[in-house]
Every structure is written in structure tokens, then in C-alpha cells.
């Protein structure tokens, strides 16, 4: 630690540049991780609040709730319990007088079932009639108010916003909760169709009909349009940035170590154990990475505070711990490359000449 700190203090510009690089990489990793998590959340927030385990869809729907239709004939054959709930999904454009159009996901649910019971409101109440809707509170941020009369797609009827709910997004669009009859109207299907899917709290649930395919909720989420591709893209970028961080640290420490080899050779000749020099290098790498992480985290926090509301940047403790740990680990791995050179320093090289 002594040598590591003294060298950093003496070579401020040199180490400042390294920290600067790590700050930029760290900042990018934090922001991208936040975006990845935020977008992933906005894909699934509504589903997460249901706390469901399984979903049964029409086997021809390609695991898509919005493409799935389940007939009453089918549901009549199933022995559903209070742990199951019907749901129907339709993409809608909502419009109220004097307000901008909003693209949203309509979810038709049934009043006496568990999804309805699980819904919480931040204002107003849950819908009790076919012409009432409960909407995500991002509607409020876009100027919509309780009591607003909203049109959905080209349906002629008006739907009154009777409540706002928090964290209700599906496929990065705000959710409009309404009734199953409204969903049928939006999906242009008759009452012969009970719902788009059956959601269950039970992990043992299986839609026992050949026309149904039952998926776990995580399987269903991974099949949400664009969800896997988006996550893979972010994972790739974050992974690549971490590799860049590792290479940056390794290259800088390698160059610095090469410059210090004659000094290290003298220290080795004088009996300073290689362990001290190795510890110094790894400590230096950790100090640089920790410094970069702290400044990068500060910059990220600053960015979050000035970003507009709509940018889906979100963090949680496991994510922050994972990203921080990942960058620290790559820093240490980067520092191990010059360590090999230090272990092979030949003190003979500084005697004579």
C-alpha cells in the first residue's frame, strides 16, 4: 500500500489519466446496466406485480399473449381455482380530449380474480364497469387526469380513467387495465372467447387441454417481443466494456511496470520480497479501479438526477453489486498480467554495467 500510494501521489497526471479511462468505462457500464435493467423492468413490470408462476396460452399463439385466444369451450373443460385468472392483451392507442395520443397495452382482467385483487392504486379506484379503466401513472405524467374520458383505438365508446397504478408497464408501454368485455371489443372477438391467456399463481398449474400450451412466467417473459434480443445486446455491450476496462488496466499497468523494472530489480537485489512488489501492483490496480468506480458512480448519480423522467434508467442493489464486483474483478485480472513480469524480474540486470 505504501509504495502504491506514494507512486500515485507522485505521478498524478499519469495515474489521473488511467483513472479517467476507468471513470469513462465505469460510467458507461453503470448507465448501460441501468438502462438494461430499466428497460427490462418496463417490459415486465405489470407481470411482476401479479406474482404469477405460470401462464397458459393458445398453442398456436407462438407464446404471445396478444396473439392468443382461448375459447369458453376450452376454459369450461378446465377446473380453475382462485389461484388462476383470465387475462387478455391488446395493443391500444389512448386519446383524451386535449391530450397527446399514448401507445399502451390494454389488459383485460376479471374483477373477482387474483390479478384484480393484486392491483394497487396510487389514486382513484379499480374499474368496476366496462367503461372504466385503471392506467399506469405515466399517463399522469403525460397530462391525463382522473375522470378523463379516453378513446381506445377506433372504438366508439369512451372509457373513464378511474384510477392510476404505479409500475404497470408491459413491453415498455404503459398498461391500461380494463375488463375482459372491453378486451374482446379491442381484439374484435366475440364472447365465445373467454380470454387471451390463463395466468396462475401455482407452479404446478398446467392447462390440461391440447389447444393450450403452458409456460413458466420466465419463459413467457423471454418470449416477449424484443426482450431477449434487447437483454443480449445490453449484456454484450456491458461485457465488452468490462473487457475494455480489463485491457485498459492491464495495458497501463504493463507499461508502467516495464518502466519500473530497473527499480524493481534493485529492490529485489536488496531483498525486498517479490510479494511486496506484487501486492503493490494489485493494490494500485484496486485503488485505481475503486477511484474510477466511485467517480463513475457519482457521475451516474448526477446523470440520473438530470435525466428526463421518460428515460428508463433503473438500479437495484444486486445490479450495482454485480457491476461493481465485475469491474473490480476485471481490474484485478488486468493487474495479474504485469504481476507475471514482476515475478520474473532479474536483479542481476542492475548489477554492473
Amino acid at each position: 500500500m505504501f509504495l502504491a500510494l506514494r507512486e500515485i501521489r507522485h505521478e498524478k497526471l499519469r495515474y489521473g489519466l488511467i483513472v479517467g479511462m476507468i471513470v469513462l468505462v465505469t460510467y458507461l457500464v453503470f448507465v448501460l446496466s441501468g438502462l438494461a435493467y430499466g428497460l427490462a423492468q418496463q417490459n415486465t413490470q405489470a407481470l411482476d406485480t401479479w406474482n404469477a408462476s405460470k401462464i397458459a396460452l393458445n398453442s398456436d399463439a407462438n407464446d404471445s399473449l396478444s396473439q392468443s385466444l382461448i375459447t369458453k369451450q376450452t376454459t369450461d373443460k378446465l377446473s380453475l381455482t382462485k389461484h388462476e385468472a383470465y387475462v387478455g392483451q391488446a395493443g391500444v392507442v389512448a386519446k383524451a380530449k386535449g391530450q397527446a395520443k399514448l401507445s399502451a397495452q390494454f389488459l383485460g382482467i376479471q374483477e373477482n380474480q387474483f390479478i384484480y385483487h393484486r392491483l394497487t392504486t396510487v389514486a382513484g379506484h379499480k374499474p368496476t364497469t366496462n367503461h372504466q379503466i385503471l392506467v399506469d401513472d405515466s399517463f399522469k405524467d403525460n397530462g391525463y387526469r382522473l375522470g378523463d374520458q379516453v378513446t381506445l383505438n377506433s372504438l366508439t365508446g369512451k372509457y373513464q380513467i378511474v384510477g392510476f397504478t404505479h409500475n404497470a408497464k408491459l413491453s415498455v408501454a404503459p398498461v391500461v387495465y380494463g375488463t375482459l368485455p372491453t378486451w374482446r371489443a379491442l381484439a374484435h372477438v366475440t364472447s365465445a372467447y373467454q380470454a387471451g391467456g390463463i395466468v396462475s399463481e401455482r407452479s404446478t398449474f398446467k392447462g390440461a387441454d391440447s389447444s393450450l400450451r403452458t409456460l413458466s412466467l420466465s419463459q413467457f417473459i423471454n418470449k416477449l417481443p424484443g426482450y431477449s434480443a434487447q437483454n443480449m445486446t445490453f449484456s454484450f455491450m456491458i461485457g465488452f466494456l468490462m473487457i475494455i476496462a480489463m485491457v485498459v488496466i492491464a495495458v497501463f499497468l504493463y507499461i508502467l511496470t516495464m518502466q519500473k523494472l530497473p527499480n524493481y530489480a534493485v529492490l529485489r537485489a536488496q531483498g525486498i520480497p517479490a510479494k511486496v512488489l506484487v501486492t503493490t501492483t494489485i493494490t494500485q490496480a484496486l485503488l485505481l479501479v475503486v477511484g474510477g468506480l466511485l467517480i463513475g458512480a457519482g457521475l451516474t448519480a448526477l446523470t440520473v438526477s438530470v435525466l428526463p423522467f421518460g428515460v428508463p434508467l433503473a438500479f437495484n442493489v444486486p445490479l450495482l453489486v454485480g457491476v461493481t464486483g465485475g469491474i473490480l474483478l476485471t481490474g484485478v485480472i488486468g493487474a495479474l498480467i504485469p504481476v507475471r513480469i514482476i515475478l520474473h524480474v532479474d536483479p542481476v540486470s542492475v548489477i554492473g554495467g
Binding site: F2, H10, N263, P347
Partner: protein, 224 residues
Amino acid sequence: MMPTLALKNVNKTFGHDTNEVQVLTNVNFEAVAGEVSLVIGPSGSGKSTFLTIAGGIQTPTSGEVLVEDRSLLALTGKARDAFRLNQIGFILQAYNLVPYLTVADQFTLVDRVKKQGNLSATELATLLEQLGIAELIQQYPGELSGGQTQRVAIARALYQNPEIILADEPTAALDSDRVKVVGGLLHDLAKQHHKAIVVVTHDLRLQEFADKTYTIMDGHMTLS
């Protein structure tokens, strides 16, 4: 008197077969506590190889290196590190000092690694005064002249309070006045502190401070 450092029939060769070069041939050497032993020879005579073998940095191809009658060759790598740290003070020609440590920190580094047996603060202050570098304590090596750097390097080697001091051209960058100071200091250290001091040099000005002088030529060492 038992020699503090002894080399017995030491040979050192580098390379193999047709590329083999014999650098040291049947070298016998003794350094005794309380004496300054000078090893004089031209460039390429084997002085540096002798010094690295005497200091436990290299091993001989054959022969024995004894420190207080204990074989240095029997020690493991770690034990040889500890031996150099505790019993040998090296004064080298170049890169002696860590460039990002102040003069004061050069001694602190020794304290960090070798916790006991170093000079006291008072002894260090006296040493720095003797070498004329007391006022340089907060300077970095890059701010020192060649002579000042070498004197700090000498102080650093002495600070470990070693039994044996191996010096490689310690007066190479010094003027005649400073040579007298350093030569006198090494001589006093040998006499007053009972150190075995080995100086490898081609600086004949140091001969007046030596108790005995070895000459090395083409790997053969003779006691003058």
C-alpha cells in the same frame, strides 16, 4: 578470525557447449568484519558476477559461498531474499533509489519491509549529516545530482544496518572530496560498527581506505 563472507573455489560459466563462457575461475575470497575489502578490475573482468554471487543473487556453477560459515547455496529463494534484506546492504551504480519516493520515504520503505534492526532516527540523522545530505530529506531522486543520489543510496544501504556491505562502484559519480568522505565512511563503518565491507570498483582512489585489495582479471582473482 572466521570470515563473515567467504567464496571457496567458485566457478561461474554462462552458456553451453561452444557458447560456454567461463566468467569466474576458482575464485577464493574472504571478507572479515571490521575490514574494507576492495575488488579492483577492468570492465568485463567478472567483478559484477562476483558481486551477484557474493550477494546471493546468482548461484555459482561450482564452489561454495559461506556467510558466517553457513552455506548460502543451501538457502531457498525466499530465504536468500531474507538474507539479502537482513544481512547485506547493496550500493549499486544505477537505479538505486525508487524515483517516486522522497529521500525520507526511501528509509520508510526499508522500515516497512524490515521491521527490526535498522538504524535509529538519531543514527540516521548522524549518517545523513556525515554524508552531507541531511537537507535533502524531502527531495525526490529526480531532484538530486548524481553525487547526491549516490550518497543517498549509500545511506539507504547502511540504514538496514547489515553485516555485509556490497558496493558496486560507489564512488563512480563523486568528486575527489566526496570519494574521501565515502571512503572514510566505509572505513569507519568497518572499524566502528564491525561491518564486512566489499567494494567492487575500478576507482583506485579508494585503495587508501582498504584493508586488503583483490585484483580480478579475466575471472581470476588474486589478493594483492
